[in-house]
Symmetry: C2
Subunit: 312 residues, 2 copies
Amino acid sequence: MKTRNTFGIAIHGGAGTISKSELSAEKEQEYHAALEEALSIGHSILAQGGTAIDAVEMAINSLENCPLFNAGKGAVFCADGRFELDASIMNGKDLSAGAVAGVKGIANPISLARKVFEKTQHVLLAGKGAMDFAKSIGVNMEEDAYFHTEHRYKQWQDLVGTDTVALDHGSKKSKNLGTVGAVAYDKMGDIAAGTSTGGMTNKAFSRVGDTPIIGSGTYANNKTCAISCTGHGEFFLRAVVAYDISCLMEYGGLSLEQACEKVVNEKLVEFGGEGGLIAVDNLGNICLPYNSDGMYRGWAKEDGVIYTKIHE
Amino acid sequence: MKTRNTFGIAIHGGAGTISKSELSAEKEQEYHAALEEALSIGHSILAQGGTAIDAVEMAINSLENCPLFNAGKGAVFCADGRFELDASIMNGKDLSAGAVAGVKGIANPISLARKVFEKTQHVLLAGKGAMDFAKSIGVNMEEDAYFHTEHRYKQWQDLVGTDTVALDHGSKKSKNLGTVGAVAYDKMGDIAAGTSTGGMTNKAFSRVGDTPIIGSGTYANNKTCAISCTGHGEFFLRAVVAYDISCLMEYGGLSLEQACEKVVNEKLVEFGGEGGLIAVDNLGNICLPYNSDGMYRGWAKEDGVIYTKIHE
């Protein structure tokens, strides 16, 4: 197997309105520390010659396990006071992909999404069926109490009993953020992407956003790029955002940076889709564009320096 | 409102192995008649100056109501002996889109998919949540008996109790077919697409294929084309087939016909994805490519001549 010395990883913890006045120095430090930990885990896997998809999964597990983000532990409340989680993961090496939508009681939906393509002939499993699959392969189910966090409960209490649905992104309240994702390229030249979320606060009718949709929230193809999105999911679905970046590169001849700029800061802005994404190509370029006020994000390359940012 | 004299519609009733020896002359005539009826309904709407999205919805309703096809009445059985239906619809005029996945008891999932974008701020609703939405807007729920057909029951009996999942497409049994779809262009110059299915016989874990996924099973954009797919859903999901056609036109400069040829007869064949699709652009071009043995399909333009075909 040929290897090379370049590798890298980028992650996000959600894009939207992140009010500086509401973000205390202490809380800001907690976000930086959580992003740094996830990057460190992913970077370590890549440095040891591990695969991009392993780095993506493990970095996302770290973010899912952190109560700060709207994924796994710390997910937002649905209208019924419970938690419905979505995730997808794709391997650019062979275009294998797995996804789960509307699962309850799963601590790490990104790992279940990966099991979907490893253990079934399917790509996307939904709701109770996806949970039955999880049980059939011995995945431990968590009680609702595991996902309960006080700050998400308070956000829900502001909306419960109304028809209002709050995005985890773009709300006036800076706390309403947190879809997580990772993209990576490894020493073998392969790239991968994954995304995990709890969706929108007070969402009803098992609304599914772009996160579990291959082509919209997540896409990876060694020929072009690996992408993980975060933002107003309905717009990202209709704009098929992740695959759009790939097509602009493959058919339009744009660089990763040019394609990201066009989709996030031109097309999505015109369309009204607030959010951002993280992107890598297999040359080692990393882009982290967003058209919102901020995006929790970070990246690390082979030199081991870890960068984490919230605003510009 | 500017109008023009051109309009047209194309439909499909599934692509796969359609064995001529197993298809009796009588049964073949039934298929042609069902396709002709759906086309006639859609054509009539367009001829009277109706919208492409109305023509798409009404033509698909006709196919959903026909027990020959794997959508609505006539859907295949899941592993639990019930019926889980998926559908999506998109309007090329404004990129509005709606979809439902894994719904039970809905006679016309394509109409419910349309209600999703007309009555909510969402694109995709799944499972019980989508059914709760249907009830909330007064959609009549059908008992399982409504969906039961003897030929689907026999197909399921061949598989029940096993882990085998049969595609409605590409199975060795020619009866195993029938995802339906429609694409249309109207006198106003707008285009639309929709797709509806019962998925795979004996499917478990609420597997979702490409049908309810905007960008994979369905896509419409006045700038390029309207597409409805049918085939081995997992491959269509990973290849983001419908949006791929659109991108090859918009970024790659291909014509509708060239883009269809490249995706269906080159890319999908290499990838191992059996199936086909129907496509229109707003110039009035219609393509109906497939890489399988046959595809139930038909089309009609402003001259009112209705064409229906199964094999070449």
